[in-house]
Amino acid sequence: MKQRLLTDYGMVLVLLLLCATFSVLTTSEQSPTGEAAAKQVAAAIGGQHGRKLRVLIVAGDQPGDHVFAVCLDRDFAATGTRVLKTVTGGPKEARDALAEIAAGGGTIDAIVCTQAAGKWLVFSDLGTDFPAVGTPQLVVPQTYRWPNFLKAENLLNIANQIAVIAIVAIGMTMVIITGGIDLSVGSLLALSAVVTAGIIRDVLGGPEASAGGMLLACVAAIAVCGLVGAFTGLMITRCGIPPFIVTLAMMLVSSGVAYILAKGQSIYQIPNSFVWLGRGANLLGVPNAVVLMLLLYGLAHVLMSRTTLGRYLYAVGGNREAAHLSGVPVDRVFLFAYVACAVLAGLGGVIMASQLKSGSPTYGGMYELYVIAAVVVGGTSLRGGAGSMLGTLVGAFIIAVIQNGMNLTNVESYTQKVVLGLVILGAVLLDRFRHR
């Protein structure tokens, strides 16, 4: 059992190890912000005093500071604490507020402020500058040590960053399991983004496009990619050209067509609402692209492990002749794999266009290599016949975590490439040794 865990989920261990390493490397002083900070401070004040307090709330102008102020207002209103004034902005605004309260002859029991605002000089000499307000206590959120890497927003960011590659890798896993390869996915990504953006700009009237129209534009772009995939599949099955050659050719063709359609330019006349798919987060704060990715992985896993088609994909890759002689419709299975791969690349292009709110023929450069790397690191054999969807998901995350971790630890981007390359090699090497 232990043996099996190790062979089947060895890459999960690698992923966890990477996460642990980056967690240690990025641990630093953290100050809570927003609602969490407000809750903590409100609780601290409530616990200290039994009577009704007069407080001044001071928040900066950073993201989250506004939430901090609003939440505190609400909490104090509930406990009956009297808020004299709520300041958002810089030290100048705080000074003005203090002066106003002092002029009005009021005293302050506590000044509640964010971590950053607590360090403002205004509050260091209150006794001499504003003797009238009394000796208020300065209350700031407590700091704590926590890895930057392990923050929820960073983890979601990792998932969001890798969503496109991971989604395309689903199709690539199928293709590689059949013993093939698809080099055209990066170009298809660009083609899809350009077609989507182009239709929105030229047919739907740019920024005024309707939601339904945009959906159709996406479907059209994905369909175009699907057609390219079907052509690829037919060239491989009917004409017997090796997948490497066919998809290499289609990589050039698709990229060229994307440049022609976009006239070499980026297309950005797109409504703001188009970013819903790429940047929105409607479910518990999880980005929509990540939700879509997880959904697709669930479906793909079921397809590969539970359906006849999944069995056929493995069989065709394991021994094409034996599968053929066992009555497997070999050509249709290959066709499915290449169409699925191209369609998912098309979907990846749509997501990318949505994330960047534009479509450009330069998108997806080198993506085919990252996608293949994710599949291979995930334990799928390039010889075909073996591999798993969940492995690919883990492989994609390994790549994403390495990139993100190196960004957080300020590793230069050129060095990142070197490290990434070596890690891919190392992961596959490790896989070799485990299976020996």
Binding site: R306, T307, T308, L309, R311, Y312, Y314, A315, G318, N319, E321, A322, A323, H324, L325, S326, G327, V328, P329, G385, A386
Partner: protein
Amino acid sequence: MTASPPLLTMAGIVKSFPGVQALRGVDLTLYTGEVLALLGENGAGKSTLMKVLGGAHRPDDGTIAIDGRDMMFRSPQESRAAGVAVMYQEFTLVPGLTAVENIFLGQEQSRAGFVARSDERRRATELFARLGVEIDLNVPCRRLSTAQQQLVEIAKALALDARIIVMDEPTAALTSHEATRLFDIIRDLARQGIGIISITHRLEEVFAIADRVMVLRDGGNVGERPIARITRSEMIELMVGRELAGDFPPRTASIGEPRLEVAHLSRPPAVRDVSFAVRCGEILAITGLVGAGRTETVRLIFGADPRDSGEIRLDGKLLAISSPRDAIAAGIGLLTEDRKLQGLVLGHSVRENFALPNLGRLSRRGFVDLAREREAVGRSVDQLHIKVASQEQAVGTLSGGNQQKVVLAKWLARNCEVLIFDEPTRGIDVGAKYEIYLLMNGLVVAGKSIIMISSELPEVLGMADRILVMHDGRVTGEITDVPRASQEQVMELAHA
């Protein structure tokens, strides 16, 4: 001859793999100029022992000595350098290179960094002359026949000055005629002072070539005798550890109406105008030399290759077969000659291989019913006595006999009306052979029809109700009175 130390002594060889002890202290002695037949059922440890000798496996324990000197082979290269040439069942020739290039692969004769082609050619011609054969030195090896390729392998061994040559099933892919020719060559090599170890399942061959017989069972020695002091049944007894009733089980099937009829099947040059019929409850054997077009004929019936012309009828109904899928749907099954390349997905489990042609029945709306699948596999494994650790075991790790049983299981589960067996017992041990014969008999008793392609004449004569002989893509003869037919009669038709 025996005064000097033996050419080869292997003593107390132990080798285990995860979960199996393949060899438990095996001893082997080989003298100069001797042909030793190494016998044993599949899984007895013959191949492992030879892989140890060839340097492909390192033994856990035991010693190897050549000419009395202790050796330690850490790689196939070291073994080869010591004068050992192991010829595996799968040839190791590079198909695109010529015989000369293959013979000198890795040890090219060079002059100032350039390959001395004329020298190589001259030496290759000498080697083939020594073997007494002629081989076209200008064509790539893939164009040579199987028998010729084997001779190239032997020449390659001789070029390395091999003093010990190991042959694993040397006649498996040869016709009887070619095999006889090979035996002459083997005897000749022995006279030249080379020690030869031959692994084989064909007991007739043992009497034709061996000086001495050594039998392995379950990874240990069970007997060793000069050929003059052992009989065929004693060999079988040593191998299986029990006495078998006879080589072929008795038949009780009654033959009925024609079931599968083939008319004017053609795909020149391999198949030219072949017509025949198989009846219910009948085993029809198709025999002939390798390359006679037997396999090609059944591949056309099965839709594996496109046919130029010809009609296929099942129970009088015309079938439109253009792919194996169509043939399977019509109730025809093909057990291919080459299990590893065509019959099984070696890296996949017994369960997945079994299910491949049966998924339609084991799934609902595209989803595989895993519980039903496991149950069906379990039933077949029990019924056919397939020795597996679990249903999830990769078929590539099974012995030849058990692999063949998995192939059988997957087709039996389809309940095909017509089953085509292409060399059903090639490379399978005696015990498993008998079981497969029993199964074939069971099928015809149940009214199924069987077409059996076989190069082993005893098998053809022992199993068939009727024999079709092919030569050069045509049917050259039919023998209906099988009990009175002789091997000579068949061979005559085959050479027509």
